[in-house]
Symmetry: C2
Subunit: 221 residues, 2 copies
DNA sequence: TGTGACAATATTGTTCACAATCAGTTCCAT
DNA sequence: ATGGAACTGATTGTGAACAATATTGTCACA
């Protein structure tokens, strides 16, 4: 159980919302888990009112589900919706990849290539954690380089919703071997400043992610 | 000033949020207009607490802006961001158009063609309002036929943010003449069950919308 | 006339107590 | 034993009171 924050600190609704989001992301709060207002208030050292508005905000974001008079729980995203989310992400990240290819400077190109080499090394060394980190870094970097703040915010929210399925993916054996070439293809296309090719490569990669999620869910329940 | 809702009715936070959203959409609340909690509470017959959480939710959605201790106001979306929104919509609606083309039944095809004829007739008759209605119906129908609930929700939210710019667009003389063929091209591609062509046509159309918004904003302020 | 300090007002932020509701349990009549 | 009505404990929903903060208005003084 987490220790309460030091007394007297202003724990506003936004802070509570961040903590809960983070806890869901870290797997400390699992889907369908009940979120009792009083418990959260004590846990984070906030008033119940703040917890309440935090839960309202998280409901709008789609990570929490509320039922009248029955409280809030971590929303359980069904497989079907997770696949939809991947499709939407595919469209948006393809846009970002294309824009990144258009705006790419020499320095940024080297950064992307460095990330590619790290991922390659991680696969060779069999270091899953390093590979996962490289994956996150690559996607985040491309989104950042695209300069599309709106797309970035949208993607962030969608990812937060489907976080459960992301985890399963990296646990899948042989997954990194399959996705590495896809990632390298994206990097290559972006560094070649070819927007169309970059978008294609990203779409192809996320289509493969979708298939992997589906396969993983169908077998492991 | 609007009359208060009948006393005793349960005016929950969600209802207040809907009303405010609607008021912004209808242009009754303009960008940068201050949203004083007590006023809204009286106007909608809700308690201040409900108004407060409604404002929190709308802030998350991006239609309202809040500053600590200084209250809420209707967020003024800058041109730059509006153009970003159009780009993101372009990516998402292209996805929807493609999916709609894949899933299209005979009945739905006839519906689309009917909408197309209506829009054509509206342009010939010079009926701006009918054309705008057809435009809304076409986009909404394609999104619905795509079966992509996630994309639909995302597009809805984005449109709510940029509503101010939509208005200007229809006021622009000759705008319908330009966009009609784009709309017809979308309908044709979808009815031909060609996903790629449908996506292309939609992208092209929204690119044109982007240009028109930019032109309109640069000249009129 | 302009400027700064100060007071008055308006508005938002926070907490708390109480009402409403629900799930589970007990108990009674059949 | 079984179905259902009433009870109980836990939890959420609601509104109002109070505190904190920003904005506006006032006035003395240079």
């Amino acid at each position: 159980m987490a220790t309460a924050t030091r007394a007297g600190a202003a724990v506003t609704a936004t802070v509570v919302a961040d903590r809960i989001r983070q806890a869901i992301f870290a797997g400390e709060l699992v889907p369908n888990q009940r979120l009792v207002e009083a418990d959260l208030a004590e846990m984070y050292g906030a008033s119940r009112g703040h917890v309440r508005t935090a839960l309202s905000e998280l409901t709008v974001e789609g990570v929490v589900e509320r039922i009248q008079n029955r409280g809030a729980r971590v929303r359980s995203v069904p497989l079907e919706e997770a696949l939809e989310i991947v499709e939407v992400r595919s469209a948006l990240e393809a846009l970002c990849a294309a824009r990144a290819a258009q705006r790419l400077g020499e320095e940024e190109a080297q950064l992307l290539q460095r990330i590619g080499r790290d991922m390659e090394a991680a696969v060779e060394a069999g270091d899953q954690s390093a590979y996962a980190q490289g994956n996150t870094e690559l996607h985040a970097t491309l989104i950042r380089l695209s300069g599309q703040a709106t797309a970035a915010a949208t993607i962030d929210r969608l990812r937060a919703q489907a976080v459960r399925f992301q985890y399963r993916l990296f646990a899948q054996p042989g997954r990194s071997q399959q996705s590495l070439p896809e990632h390298l293809a994206i990097i290559e296309a972006v560094c070649a400043r070819e927007p169309e090719a970059a978008a294609s490569a990203m779409r192809e990669h996320l289509m493969s992610v979708g298939s992997a999620i589906e396969a993983s869910a169908r077998t492991s329940g």
